[in-house]
Amino acid sequence: MKERPLPAPIAGKDGFLLKVGLAEMLKGGVIMDVTTADQARIAEDAGACAVMALERVPSDIRKEGGVARMAAIKVIEEIMKVVTIPVMAKVRIGHSVEADVLQALGVDYIDESEVLTPADEANHVWKHGYRVPFVCGATCIDEALRRIGEGAAMIRTKGEAGTGNVVEAVRHMRKVTGDIRRLTTLREEELMAEAKRLGAPFDLVKQVAMTGKLPVPNFAAGGIATPADAALMMKLGAEAVFVGSGIFKSEDPSNRAHAIVRATTHFDDPDEVLAASRDLGEAMRGLEISQIPEGELLQARGW
């Protein structure tokens, strides 16, 4: 791919509007993890609204161990070449140079992801400094608001990636939406103390208390493996879903990908979710969360 002059970040409201704007366009859709151009094509043909380019899917990272980094440039480039839908890619938490590289390459969204091995144990990337939008994982409202404070234009649950077990994504989605509901019940004079307790930026705490929602789209990720899992997350308030290992670690990726897209659109229509759930072949093998040693939980990365 030829080098391109890089446009400067657009300061202020317009810049953030454009970042959130793309997330708005992805709503109601499924973003699929892919590791090759062939998989990206299968994802697009199945109706994915975007793909996430990475080197190994989370379940392989979990199995094989080692340091997980940004995907190889060649792989990302090939994926960008074969699909017309937006292409996202992951950087390690705090790795601003991996982010610089992906922005220069022209990916459409960057996921500062706990699935990769963190590069900075104290700081996340300062995302306001980029023109490309970022998505970050969160397990609760204060984590979400810290990431938004740094410039994230989309929040997703962390879930527990690579397990095919949706329980952690459900926990995080319920926690975030429950936290939001609780904030809306507080009185004005209680918000500063609450911001202090949460360790979250006051202005954002106040905004959530007033509007009853996150200031950016709220998506689900981590452990989604079936059409019913995707519909469940939508029902719990997710505005779109990410599916990682769940598709290309299943018996029939193309069929399953299509079924998950269908169930996400029609999450509130049981007949459609039923139809989407038929004849899918084996799902990926799941992993019980309690069997993962605590030090190996991906969701504990980031803060």
């Binding site: 657009i10 454009l18 708005e24 609204c49 937006p86 922005q103 022209g106 459409d108």
Partner: protein, 211 residues
């Protein structure tokens, strides 16, 4: 002459004597929730369209921003693809924003286009997300500028003389209409400004504010 036939076409769809005006928003994927919010702010009744049965009783439809390939694939599972296209052909007032415009126009590649408006629409023609931008637009009959939010926007090329260009950016059309169809390559639903929604409701759906 074109406007006359457009009027009679619309008459078929605009029988909303009394009661609130129902406007569909294609809701298979994309920015449909924002269009719903804008329609509610205009005081009309939004109807989410996910299946062909949801087309009943609507006086117009908005095809939102999103991914046109996803729209096409999800709609193909149901008879929605065929019934929506037929309804638009029969005169259902329709506004396509970005991905919606792609479906309605002509063009090569995926997804398959409907050729319902005389415009060629090239996808992602301004580049990738880092090339997305905001530009102030002059829109005909608006008394002040409009914030045009362009996200991985398509480019329009008018190929039929019956198409009316309503706004341009650096000489290229970004808003145009023909008969019952309006297209914009920008996203009014991302702003608080309701003027394009109101224009669609008034000029295309025969909506009367004082009704």
């Amino acid at each position: 002459m074109a406007s006359k036939s457009a009027k009679s076409l619309r008459a078929n769809y605009c029988k909303h004597g009394g009661g609130s005006l129902k406007i569909g928003v294609l809701a298979v994927q994309g920015s449909y929730a924002l269009h719903v919010k804008s329609l509610l702010a205009c005081d009309v009744e939004p109807v989410l369209v996910k299946r062909s049965k949801h087309l009943e009783g609507i006086s117009g439809i908005i095809l939102p921003g999103g991914e046109s390939t996803t729209f096409h694939i999800v709609m193909s599972e149901d008879d929605l693809l065929v019934s929506l296209k037929t309804a638009i052909q029969k005169g259902l007032p329709t506004w396509g924003t970005c991905a919606g415009a792609i479906m309605l126009g002509h063009g090569e590649g995926i997804p398959e286009r409907w050729n319902l408006i005389g415009i060629e629409v090239a996808r992602n023609a301004f580049g990738r997300q880092v090339d997305s931008f905001v530009a102030l637009l002059e829109i005909s009959k608006f008394d002040s500028l409009f914030d045009g939010v362009f996200i991985r926007a398509p480019r329009l090329k008018v190929v039929a003389p019956t198409v009316t260009i309503m706004s341009t950016l650096s000489g290229e059309p970004v808003m145009a209409s023909e008969r019952n169809i309006l297209v914009t390559t920008f996203h009014p639903e991302l702003t608080e400004d309701l003027r394009v929604h109101q224009l669609f409701l008034k000029k295309f759906c025969n909506w009367n504010l004082n009704e």
